[in-house]
């Protein structure tokens, strides 16, 4: 052997791998959640305060009015009621988003369910016992929501059609059909405005004794718990997660991908439909033509902030429910439009994107975006080019 070698150590002592201490992991996980999920909300509230100042309003009064109108005394009960449909929709979106499937047709699914039960409701509650009528109406709404996802689901399962486009299209059609129903067969003949007949108060969803909170809120909470359990503990949930994380692996390990796509779409539509039932049977009692609360649009940022976790969605939805319930009072007092609340939601979305961008560069914990979406964020310019 020649002398030009530079051995430094022939046999380095073997260093056993130390398992990561659980406490350590817990701390970093907690930090993760704070940075990725809560910081955008705080930043948005801060930016909202600056905006209020610029508009010549007092942010402290504004936010304390939100508190007063959304939580104090019995206001929290109104917030809880408002949270019910939001939560059901959010959970319905979690199911599909987990699988990297984008069901954006929630408005159509919601309104179709709402129109159907507002039309059928008055007849059903008149002829059947209350509990049976309500149960049937929940099923009708859920079924309508689920059925309205079927076309996009089958198209995607069979031909890999882009579901963003098909669900949006079906949504437009669904909204249209709902309006036709309200103005046509379901029109209340006794009034001039296009709206359905109003459910009698004593035939709507019963309340929890001692409160105004109707049991639709409990249905929503139960749905969130159930979905969380299914997603984290069952084979169905794991298959969904695999499909979302790596569709090719899903195929490789024998997941029946087309069937799973259809199933997750149906569950998603069902939950959106149930949201309509909870909202109509619990809160409104009728639907007016051209009414579109677009709950899904406001709730999407929170679904991402909760990182597609059905349990974590609860606090975020509650937060928004309080903000919007209290916001009614606060905006009124500050003589602002309630649209200001949407500005706050938009700010949350904005800061979420910023943190997401920084997070990629600085490793601020795990992203709540699925790999496909991260790719899209990373190369938006190219996306535009290829679609052009």
């Amino acid at each position: 052997m020649t002398g030009a070698t530079t051995d430094t150590a022939l046999s380095p002592e073997t260093r056993p791998l130390e398992p990561i201490a659980p406490s350590h992991r817990f701390v970093s996980d907690a930090l993760d959640v704070v940075v990725r999920s809560i910081v955008p909300v705080l930043l948005a509230l801060g930016a909202g305060a600056i905006l209020l100042l610029a508009l010549g309003r007092d942010p402290i009064t504004f936010y304390s009015n939100v508190w007063k109108g959304g939580i104090q005394l019995t206001a929290w009960q109104d917030s809880a009621i408002r949270a019910a449909p939001l939560l059901l929709i959010a959970v319905g979106l979690v199911v599909v988003f987990r699988a990297n499937i984008w069901n954006l047709g929630y408005n159509g699914q919601f309104l179709l369910g709402a129109a159907l039960i507002s039309g059928l409701g008055p007849h059903l509650v008149a002829s059947e016992p209350r509990w049976l009528a309500l149960l049937l109406l929940f099923l009708v709404a859920g079924g309508a929501g689920a059925a309205w996802t079927l076309v996009p689901a089958l198209l995607k399962a069979r031909y890999e059609t882009n579901e963003i486009i098909t669900t949006l299209m079906m949504s437009f059609i669904g909204v249209g059909v709902a309006n036709i129903l309200i103005k046509g067969p379901f029109q209340d003949p006794s009034v001039n405005i296009p709206q359905t007949r109003v459910l009698p108060l004593n035939k709507m969803l019963p309340s929890i004794p001692g409160t105004r909170i109707h049991i639709g809120v409990l249905v929503a909470l139960a749905a969130a718990l159930l979905v969380h359990f299914v997603l984290t503990r069952t084979s169905f949930g794991l298959r969904l997660q695999i499909l979302g994380a790596n569709p090719r692996a899903a195929r490789h390990v024998g997941v029946k991908v087309p069937r799973l796509i259809v199933m997750s779409f149906l569950v998603s539509g069902l939950l959106v439909g149930l949201a309509a039932a909870a909202d109509i049977l619990g809160t409104w009692g009728y639907v007016r033509a051209n009414w579109n609360p677009a709950y899904g649009d406001t709730v999407i940022p929170f679904v991402f902030l909760a990182r597609l976790n059905a349990l974590a969605v609860i606090p975020f939805v509650v937060f928004y429910a309080v903000l919007s319930t209290g916001g009614d009072l606060a905006t009124q007092q500050a003589s602002l439009s309630t649209d200001f609340l949407l500005v706050l939601v938009a700010l949350i979305l904005l800061f979420m994107t910023v943190i997401e961008y920084l997070g990629r560069r600085r490793a601020l914990g795990a992203s709540y975006l699925t790999p496909g979406l991260q790719q899209a964020l990373r190369s938006p310019r190219l996306r535009r080019r290829t679609s052009a």
Partner: protein, 569 residues
Amino acid sequence: MRGGRFGRPPRRDERLRTESLNRKAAIPTGSQSGRESERDPADAPAVELVGITKQFPGVLANDDISLTVRHGEVHCLLGENGAGKSTLISILSGMVRPDAGEIRVGGRMVQIDSPRAALELGVGTVYQHSTLVRALTVLENLLLGETRGLRLDVEAARARLAEVAATLGVEIDADAPAGELALGRQQQVEIVKALWRGSRVLILDEPTSMLTPQGVAELQKVLRRLKETGISVIFITHKLHEALAVADRITILRAGRVVGAIETAELEGSSAEEVQGRIVRLMFGEDARAVADVAELRTDLEGEQAPLDEQRSEAATLLALSRVSARPVGGFDPGLEEVSLELAEGEILGIAGMDGNGQRSLAEVIAGERALSAGEIRLYGVPVERLDVSARQKLGLRYVTDDRLGEGIVSSLPVSLNLFLKRIGQRPFWRHGRIEHRSVEREAQSLVKAFDVRTPSISTRAGALSGGNVQKVVLARELSFEPKVVVFNKPTYGLDLRTTSTVRDMIRGLARGGGAALVISTDLDELLDLCGRILVLSGGRLVGEVENGPNAGERVGELMVGAGDVAAA
């Protein structure tokens, strides 16, 4: 001004080793630092890494590593799976930030905090695993890195692609979707991408692991051409003969540390066996003996399978394909055309052929991932075409895919779940659709141990494992719970010598224990080492059969080439 005041290589080498880690130095950024410190670029090494340290959760991946790469040299980095090679080059290419240490490029201290920064410094990288966006075309993939100007100059890019491809001596279809190219071709695109901006340093992480012998020879030619133009190459491989063929210098890593280096003089001055022996000792330390009988280190591979062969005539047929056809996939896999074969108990049957000749279709059709358009598959004499993947898996029919990261594992899931991906919903790991965490974890622990998967814990993300260990996870999944007939697609690519020999022993063990293996490989040596019979697959058809024996390699080669000629005619 050669031989200026700074940096004569020998002295610098010595200094590097003694230099302390936390030495504070002014870090010039952006433009060139003052005249004083400027060295003659020909004098300074192309790249120097000093005291690089990187800790991952539970693993010290790089431990005070120092390395010098000179201009126009091919510097090989060797080391067992998980030694820290990929981590080190990820640091150099801006993918990972070191915890400590410094990097100098062309004598200038630099901070490389993004892949773009690396490219701007003239350091281009081809990663171990494809970074191409499958849905985009080759040209679009190349344009992804473009930052100048808002408009993408497609025509200029096309010209540049032709130019780089010509330098490399390869032909690349600019408009083919990247995902539809054969793996070997994808890699050429990756090399083009690395050289796109005129890099002076090219990093190749296991570039040959999926290439055919011709591909390897081509690559070696490419490397020689690059060397002539003064480009330095950092080359990671697990194949010693390749390292010896192309390397000017070799550095060996083990458990995150540099454990030795072999200089040009020694490479030229001593025999190949001497050098190989030394490298193996450095790579594996006391375990070196276990590696001694790896096929790679021997030359007389042919004709060793006689005992297995004799059994074959009496043994039962486990798997039989009769006239199986499958439709082509994209432009990448020709599908299958009337493929018939029989696999007997105790047999290891080889499928030779260049990449993209229907290997994937064959494996997927057998595993149940792809439907046949005609023909019949029988397992233990029973038709199975109608059974799905998990039903076949349950019957003992297994498939070790060659696309480990692409489909073999779900990188965001923990190692433990990845071990059970093909048993989702099955007892005892799931009951009534509910996962039994306790049994999953217990079983995962024992699999990790049995297959020697190097992972900090079973709850580590599978994507954090080194390439070799990902393969062990896949093997553990497929070879546990009574495997009977196993299709191996390139079972040892990317594995170190020791793991390669372990895997081959597993394959032999499977056959000896009454199972059977179908080994699909582009590595002829591997087939000669393992198989009794070798079938040659070309254009989706079986074009010949060769009994392992004297001259078997040559005959397989002739069949591959001959079939190519027929197809071209």
